[in-house]
Symmetry: C2
Subunit: 164 residues, 2 copies
């Protein structure tokens, strides 16, 4: 039992609300930092969504749904909640449209930029034989020749896109 509350109603009645904490999934496999990172990020979609925000500037639910990767709506909803739980993204309301929510990377989320960039470079250099249609781009060249500058530029760009 993780939470209990009694709400007093009328006529000597009360409502008892009990939240049981069952089958709590063990969140981390061990005390290793790399394994812990992968306990949070090591699935099909978490880093892809971060990449979509950082590099492709996606910020609404519809943006993500319409991306090339074609994520399912239930998976996206679940993963956005998870990213928020770990403090990697932040959501806010659209200034003029109540239906639309805006998602953005926090500083914590932005601090994954070096990891995203390393994966891009690694993939470019090691996966073309397996995925021959992998695109080429000037960005990849920039990543390889000026990695640190590129990382800072990505972060700065993302921060500036986020109207506070």
């Amino acid at each position: 039992m993780a939470f209990e509350k009694q709400v007093i109603l009328k006529n000597n009645c009360f409502l008892q609300v009990i939240l049981y904490q069952v089958n709590m999934k063990q969140e981390f496999r061990c005390d290793c930092p790399v394994t812990s990172a992968l306990d949070v990020l090591g699935d099909k979609w978490m880093l892809v969504i971060i990449k979509q925000m950082l590099i492709e500037e996606k910020q609404t639910f519809k943006d993500f749904i319409e991306s090339d990767e074609a994520i399912s709506t239930n998976i996206l909803s679940s993963k956005l909640k998870c990213l928020e739980h770990y403090g990697l993204i932040q959501r806010k309301n659209h200034p003029t449209n109540k239906k639309t929510k805006l998602y953005h990377l926090t500083e914590k989320g932005l601090s994954l930029t070096p990891t995203i960039v390393e994966l891009a470079i690694w993939s470019d250099q090691n996966l073309r034989e397996h995925n021959p249609i992998m695109r080429e781009s000037d960005e990849l060249e920039l990543m390889k020749t000026s990695k640190a500058e590129f990382i800072e530029r990505l972060k700065k760009g993302h921060r500036e896109n986020w109207l506070e």
Copy 2:
């Protein structure tokens, strides 16, 4: 139908072997390098196993099974095959014990060292509130202060451990 062969037996008999290629899983979601990297590495175990080889110097099936992460034997077997398929590891026979196989990172696998190190640093700086038992170590300090040197040293150490 992906493969057919007929084997002639005796007494006018023959055996026909046909391999059908069905439900071939789409291997890559799109042409993006980051997403392609995650199509290969984006699961619970691939990068953990690479980390275990690189940092913890695990090299036998038993070594992996006995690691803190407690992977299941069927998962390990399957992941080792997958890592080999993508050219990230290489297996060879133990010089004196035919039962034991040795697994080692190839250069391609070793080129994931920057990614592993970035994940370690990120985790150390961002996940302690979620995983309070995360260990501290001198290695983490070295990673942060001399990242490039640390990366090269890890690679070099791994290469030297691999008796050719």
